[in-house]
Symmetry: C2
Subunit: 404 residues, 2 copies
């Protein structure tokens, strides 16, 4: 661990681990509120050491973990199912389609991985309070891990956040502060809190270990895929942290000489929340003007990690696609029907994306493709409820049962 450096994604400057905590001190000065973050830090490992220590017969993934194991909170993340779905593949026209179901993390989303590592870091720093701004999965993930670790979680949410989302957070004993304003207001307030009061700030991408935590899903896919790198990974993209993190996981494996290639990162965004998609197309960044999608986990006007996400897609020779809410709901249904997985709308966007890419011929249907499911469908039952019909009740006699 001693060998880890942080490298600024914007300017490339390197810092020792204990010199900086969040963003690059130089580039973050140029940060304007309401724009993507600048100066997001990337953890750089001593890949020569990893190369020497790594054993193919019994791989130790802690070689790639930025916080020592002794600081880990008592909370089991990961180890989620990864499997080939012939029936979904047939439905969508892909021969070798795989699913990684990260909705089966304890709090119901992939964000447990980020919260786990940031709370481990809080243990290392002897910091009893961890702070975040969020409306959804990141907040419940942080609340869950903090509960298990005996830490105080302070969570700023926009006051319009649906009550159901708050149940999990409050039950975990987190301090929730509803803010009369937008997510951006909550974000700024969380920064003011950690600057003037106390606590470690876990805001996504703002704390570099959110990326390092999320990257573990890539290491897990590699191991579960019998130590082979798939050809492409489809990822629901909101703020751009998960796609950057999956890239980072495969990048680390390559840098350590364990693998030779990085899968193509394929971004799927909702049509109205397409800032990263447009950034890729035009090369110039603009905020999404009025995000409004049923897939709330990827509904974002200002994706905090837009620059790194664009890089991950371009460097992996990936691509980007957008989908409508109608396509997302159809994707959710198809995923459930063909695999038995009930995923939240954002994760279902990847199924819709895969369909579009089949039509446009952008993906070779014989390649090994992985769909990353990031959140559990039970997180949001209102979305599909609008779209289904429950049959009329019958009197209890066999002759009233319709023929199927």
């Amino acid at each position: 661990m001693a060998g880890i450096l942080y490298k600024c994604h914007t300017c490339g400057r390197e810092f020792k681990r204990n010199e900086v905590r969040y963003l690059c001190p130089v580039c973050s000065q140029e940060y304007s509120p309401g724009m993507p973050l600048r100066g997001v830090l990337i953890a750089v490992f001593d890949y020569d050491i990893i190369r020497r220590k790594y054993k193919r017969s019994a791989p130790d993934w802690n070689l790639f973990t930025a916080v020592e194991k002794k600081f880990f909170p008592p909370f089991q993340v990961g180890g989620t199912p990864f499997f080939r779905s012939h029936s979904l593949g047939r439905e969508l026209g892909y021969e070798n389609l795989w699913v990684k179901n990260d909705g089966l993390n304890p709090s119901g989303s992939l964000k447990d991985r980020a919260s786990f590592l940031v709370v481990a870091e809080a243990n290392r720093l002897n910091e009893p309070v961890v702070v975040t701004a969020s409306t959804g999965n990141a907040a419940s993930a942080l609340a869950a891990v903090c509960a298990a670790a005996g830490k105080k979680a302070v969570i700023f949410v926009p006051y319009k956040a649906p009550k159901a989302k708050l149940v999990q957070i409050v039950l975990y004993g987190a301090n929730v502060i509803p803010v009369k304003g937008t997510y951006d207001d909550a974000f700024k307030l969380s920064l003011a809190f950690t600057a003037s009061r106390n606590g470690l700030n876990r805001n996504t991408a703002y704390h570099p270990l959110t990326i390092e935590g999320k990257k573990t899903v890539a290491l897990e896919i590699f191991e579960q895929n019998n130590f082979k790198v798939p050809d492409a990974v489809l990822i629901p993209v909101g703020d751009g942290v998960i796609i950057a993190a999956v890239y980072k996981g495969f990048y680390d494996l390559k840098m350590a000489g364990i693998t030779r290639k990085i899968p193509r990162m394929i971004s799927v965004q909702a049509e109205s929340s397409d800032a990263i998609h447009q950034y890729l197309l035009s090369g110039t960044y603009h905020n999404a003007l009025s995000p409004s999608t049923i897939a709330d986990s990827i509904s974002v006007s200002v994706p905090s990690n837009a620059h790194m996400a664009k890089d991950a897609i371009e460097k992996s020779r990936g691509c980007s696609v957008t989908v409508t809410d109608r396509e997302i709901l159809d994707g959710q249904r198809i995923l459930a029907l063909k695999t038995g997985i009930f995923a939240e709308p954002s994760s279902s966007a990847t199924i819709a994306g895969l369909r579009k890419l089949r039509q446009s011929g952008s993906l070779d249907p014989r390649e090994q493709i992985v769909l990353l499911i990031t959140g559990h469908g039970l997180k949001d039952i209102d979305a599909p409820m609008k779209d289904i019909t429950i049959p009329e009740a019958i009197e209890p006699a066999i002759e009233n049962v319709p023929l199927f």
Copy 2:
């Protein structure tokens, strides 16, 4: 597999595997509607063969599986977290407390294990339709596994079942038939359906492989516990199938000479739904008169597997306890606060039970105790929602943030 017999729990008669499908043909004739099942079948393995084939270094649990692997549906059940919780143990006064979180099965409950094996059996029998009566977890589990397996699920539900519960089932493409009547009416109609139309009936305990599927959680606990048998397992008890199944798993291990003891089975029921508890106390069975508890998964008037559940508790020298809804909600909060696990109310009843047993001194606080979490908290957010307070919103300025 060829050596498997079915043995009647009521009369002890043995049947060849393909002679019977559901209950003992003799004892089930004495079954009265509105009473627990009679003639539930127990799978009997050739334990000598298992003893010879079992390898401690690389145990093959399929030795204990009543359906060959080639018939398994493409659906990953089990492999859920099992861990020691020091903080929950400290809170409740137990030194060696462990948690098995089976709410992290794909459809959100332990019932995936039963549905998995019954659908495997449907594959073996070339049966394209699987039928059940249920209002909750068993229904969504069957719908999920049938979706993955490409089978038709036919599910009878009482028409008063909450709509939210139906979302998952309908999304998975199951044929749902709301019945104007009670669960008992739905149960009878499901039997009429499989008798006069078609399909394999998956009703819990009625199909013996529901018990065999659920028992896999015991094999998993044994393996995850470093091949040791814990001292006691606390189980939320409604119809009595899960507790009978956990017993069966440890019984099989003992019969095969792999282990020497069976953990004490400790039943936790809701106060108003305590038929099995009363049966144990008095020795005479009576239905629970008016079950009304927030823990809907264990709310049952007529526990279908009451006889076998009583046996499991008595033969393992276990015990039984009942808890109030207030205690269940407190248990849910304590579990969330100390472990980061959000469990549904029924599973939270075990925490309440553990507290009571500490007060009465019925459990040795130094023994290894396992809490079995059977369902995900996201299955029912209404229950805790009534019990929590969400703070008032503030204007977005740091001076408005309360001190913690």
